[in-house]
């Protein structure tokens, strides 16, 4: 094991990351070296007049956890569908695991695993039978099948329930089985579309333990979409998507540092007067969101006493917080994720709800 902590691939001793220890000093550049796991160039999807995905471009490096963050209807699911060859792009190109999504569909499919929000398990079969079926469809060699199945089941902690019908599984267990199944054929990229939606917090956290564990144990890139901010914190890099476009793309830390200032939220007796007063007396522009006035200032804690002394409008409550991804979202799109979801995204949501079915 080298400095990077990862075991090299046999037989070519190539390291999954670019660590010197294993490359033996020579840089062998093969077509599938540390190339990008996913490469997207001006990808577009239009449904009639509606542009769901608008000329999106980004790259995902091999081995990272990449997150797509945004409200429902932003275009995340559509993008992921195009990358998984489930939808035909209207424009632009994309390669996944080095293969073009339009022209080399079979190769893309062989190298990806999918876990979607909608369950795709056969409830009338056992976990074993579901996995077996997946293995046959993906052509996993017979010799390796048994060990591989045990390996993935142990990984998600379902090895003792493998002979039970899936109909007896709880929601969390089914999701874990889907993750195990998605991994069965050792894909290069695992696509998780809202992997913890609809699950209770405890299950969500245990699934994330598995995912993080997975990343350490196998040579895999994880591509994730979510509208949960806390989940996005696990990612190496995040792209924020809104109305079909990527608004910003960076690591969570860099994004938060980019917003920079502390967020202060107050509720007042007269919001309109408060907004005006903040502007006139402090030069601060406040936004109204989720029933509170929100604004950013460099040093929130020092600001609060001044606020109370000088605002002139009754303040009912105040809170100061360091930047979070919610603030990042707000700063780049002008709304919080919750507001964006309840607002204009609704039309898009309906459209995608109808379209999600094959």
């Amino acid at each position: 094991m080298g400095a990077c902590g990862k075991t090299p691939r046999v037989p070519d001793n190539r390291c999954p990351t670019t660590c010197r220890d294993h490359s033996g000093g020579t840089t062998t550049t093969t077509t599938q070296s540390v190339a990008n796991a996913v490469s997207v160039d001006r990808l577009t999807k239009r449904y009639g007049d509606l542009t769901a995905v608008d000329s999106v471009s980004f790259d995902v490096t091999a081995g990272e956890i990449f997150g797509f963050l945004g409200p429902n209807g932003a275009g995340k699911s559509t993008t992921i569908k195009m990358l998984c060859t489930l939808a035909e792009p209207t424009g632009g190109t994309a390669t996944v695991a080095g293969y073009d999504v339009r022209r080399e569909q079979g190769s893309v499919r062989r190298n990806i695993g999918l876990v979607f929000q909608d369950p795709t398990l056969d409830q009338y079969l056992t976990a074993d039978q579901n996995l077996r079926m997946h293995a046959e469809l993906y052509g996993v060699p017979r010799a390796e099948l048994k060990d591989r199945m045990t390996h993935v089941l142990e990984m998600v902690g379902l090895a003792d329930r493998r002979s039970a019908l899936v109909s007896t599984y709880s929601g969390g267990m089914r999701r874990r089985l889907e993750i195990a199944r998605g991994m069965l054929h050792a894909p290069r990229v695992l696509f998780l579309d809202e992997p913890t939606v609809g699950l209770d917090p405890q299950t969500r956290s245990s699934i994330w333990n598995y995912i993080n564990d997975l990343r350490k144990r196998e040579d895999i890139t994880i591509f994730l979409t979510t509208h949960y901010m806390d989940e996005a914190e696990y990612c190496d890099r995040i792209a924020i998507m809104d109305h079909g476009r990527i608004v910003v793309l960076d690591t969570p830390e860099a994004l938060k540092a980019g917003v920079g200032e502390d967020r202060v939220q107050i509720t007042t007796v007269d919001d309109a007067a408060a907004i005006a007063a903040l502007q006139d007396r402090f030069g601060v522009t406040a936004r109204f969101a989720e029933g509170q006035l929100t604004f950013s200032v460099p040093a929130g804690e020092q600001f609060v006493p001044r606020l109370f002394a000088e605002l002139g409008v009754g303040i009912k409550s105040v809170s100061v917080s360091r930047p979070s991804l919610d603030d990042v979202f707000m700063a780049h799109t002008g709304t919080t994720i919750r507001d964006a979801e309840s607002g204009g995204g609704r039309e898009l949501m309906k459209m995608f709800g109808a379209r999600r079915r094959l």
Binding site: L86, E88, G106, D122, Y124, L137, G139, R148, H185, R357
Partner: protein
């Protein structure tokens, strides 16, 4: 991490790049799934047998009191037996096809569609699975032969089984073809109901196809199921002891004008239809994404 060696070995899973063998593996696994679901669903097996049994023993017995005069030595139930066999096959085959819509609505279909297998292997696996399960239902009714006065002749049983298998395949292919683009289970069931009754009534399962008024004559010749029921009836009548007059009345066969269609031709027609519908089904599936 104690299992590093195992992990490295495990991640070397190399999936082959398509090819016929891979697709045949997929056909086999889709077929296996049909069989597992069929054998597990005992309730479904029993309920789908109730209809043919009701048809044969309630309808058959009841009506035979009226028709005894004209059928003479051959009981109406014996006459209706091929119909009962086809009925068992028909419903099961359709249910198999309906499961595609079910899978689509409840997600499992996507698992198959996103896998690196050709669409045709999924469709063929489904048709073979439906054919097998429908024929098995037919076999259960076939075992009741003695109750309706049909002798348990091995040659007859085998011939009839073969014909039922062919019918089952064609019916499943028909179902798959119609199910390929439908997204809602209820819509499919409604379509099903609309089609099954006319297909069945016009097939010669309930009445002989000679001496019919013009319009009915034409309609029965157009019904594909007719060309599947007739061979079974011929096979059964070949083993009955009945006067030639009765046989001519009850088993006149399918006539196109003055030509009586031979069994071989009938089977070819059914097979050809099956092949065509399979082809259309595959084509529809390719574009359903």
């Amino acid at each position: 991490m104690t299992a590093t060696v195992d992990v490295v070995a495990a991640i070397r899973v190399k999936t082959p790049a398509g090819g016929l063998r891979h697709n045949l593996r997929a056909v086999r696994v889709v077929w296996q799934r049909e069989m597992i679901r069929f054998t597990r669903d005992r309730l479904r097996i029993i309920t789908s047998l109730i209809q043919p049994v009701l048809f044969l023993f309630v309808l058959g017995t009841g009506l035979s009191t009226i028709t005894a005069g004209s059928t003479h030595s051959v009981n109406l139930r014996t006459f209706m037996y091929p119909g009962a066999l086809s009925m068992a096959v028909l419903f099961t085959a359709m249910f198999s096809a309906a499961s595609i819509v079910w899978d689509r609505e409840f997600g499992f279909l996507r698992e198959m569609l996103v896998a690196p297998v050709s669409r045709w292997s999924i469709v063929v696996g489904k048709c073979l699975g439906g054919a097998t399960t429908a024929s098995l239902q037919g076999v259960i009714i076939l075992l009741l032969a003695g109750v309706v006065g049909v002798p348990y002749s091995p040659t007859m049983m085998l011939t009839v089984f073969g014909e039922l298998l062919l019918l089952a395949f064609t019916l499943t292919a028909f179902g798959v073809m119609t199910a390929a683009r439908i997204t809602q289970f209820q819509a499919f069931m409604a379509l099903n109901q609309m089609l099954l009754m006319p297909l069945f009534f016009l097939s010669g399962a309930l009445f002989p196809l000679g001496n019919l008024p013009g319009w009915l004559q034409v309609l029965t010749r157009i019904d594909p199921l007719t060309y599947a029921v007739d061979p079974v009836r011929r096979a059964i009548f070949a083993h009955l002891h009945a006067s030639p007059a009765i046989v001519a009345r009850l088993n006149p066969g399918v006539t196109w004008g003055s030509y009586r269609v031979s069994t071989a031709l009938e089977l070819v027609i059914v097979a050809a239809m099956g092949a065509v519908m399979l082809g259309i089904g595959i084509w529809q599936f390719r574009s359903a994404d």
